[in-house]
Symmetry: C2
């Protein structure tokens, strides 16, 4: 597998999306932390590149999707820079040499430096996990395929509000050629 | 509703994706033709703008997604410019004044002039239909929301390989604020 260069992309594992009771909690996200931690450990041990792709929204709502604006301003704010809720969850914090990419749309490729940086480091294959399946994870994976990156999605390191939603998304992802496998299956490749 | 300017986006209704037995046939697409035709008639009658967003792949495979390359070169080619299969299906052909946008990725916004043109004509709301739900339709809708366009998806004018796949995608689309309604419900807005 020496001709492949894997990069890990962990999406939106921030307190406001992950912690139970948080303002924009994705029900399945909290229980994926140990699995993502193992995956991250593997990348660190092998000195493979790691990208933490996260959301930020300005407190005045000026950069949020319009479909979320009303709720954001009236009921609850989330992932506002400088708040605790915006931080990556304990256990998955970036360490020196890992990249932090801020997006404020679904896809990590929209108006970010992600593609430039992946090209610069010569990444050939992307390993993608995080939350949540139907939105940011899927949009990022579709764009990754569009830009020419083979994608491995680690299913037990990726979450949704329900297992039905996760399963339906996995079907669609497999149908466009994404390799959706468990962490153990991934680690067995090496 | 006078402050709203609707544009219709019809996706990938080409012979190779739609006709039964065609090389890349989407099972549900053929039966949506009458519904899309009615929708198109409404836009023409009202002189609202229409965009026919279609796929093209060069015959040597140089621009196709890598996940589809092997099948394209070895088993079947489809939507190759100049072939009958690449044409929009009978009954939905563009007329003068309608726009034809060629994409070769899932989203109609990737490396196309679609957003520039929508801004130029002052479109405020997009009505999106065509084939197929999990891929080009959904990727285009997610990007439309990302770029700030409210989206109405006409469910009976949009298709997938199975109704289960269509239904699962509609759930995800509604969850990000897309208005998924039938043609009759849409026409009743006016």
């Amino acid at each position: 597998m020496s001709d492949k260069k894997y990069a890990l992309i962990i999406i939106d594992m921030q307190n406001d999306f992950v912690l139970p009771g948080s303002p924009a909690c994705v029900a399945g996200a909290y229980t994926t932390i140990p699995c993502i931690k193992r995956l991250l450990g593997f990348f660190r041990t092998n000195r493979f590149p790691v990208f933490h792709v996260i959301r930020e929204y300005r407190a005045d709502g000026s950069d949020i999707e319009f479909t979320r604006l009303h709720g954001f301003l009236n009921n609850k704010q989330y992932v506002v820079p400088g708040t605790k809720g915006c931080d990556i969850v304990d256990g998955l914090s970036p360490v020196e040499g890992e990249y932090r990419i801020i997006k404020n749309r679904f896809s990590g490729f929209i108006n970010t430096e992600l593609d430039f940086m992946l090209r610069r480091i010569g990444a050939t294959h992307l390993v993608i996990c995080g939350t949540q399946y139907p939105n940011c994870v899927r949009a990022t994976i579709f764009d990754a395929i569009s830009y020419g990156y083979p994608v491995i999605n680690i299913t037990d390191a990726t979450s949704a509000q329900t297992s039905q939603i996760a399963d339906a998304n996995i079907i669609d992802l497999k149908n466009i050629g994404v390799d959706c496998i468990s962490l153990d299956e991934f680690l067995n490749l090496f």
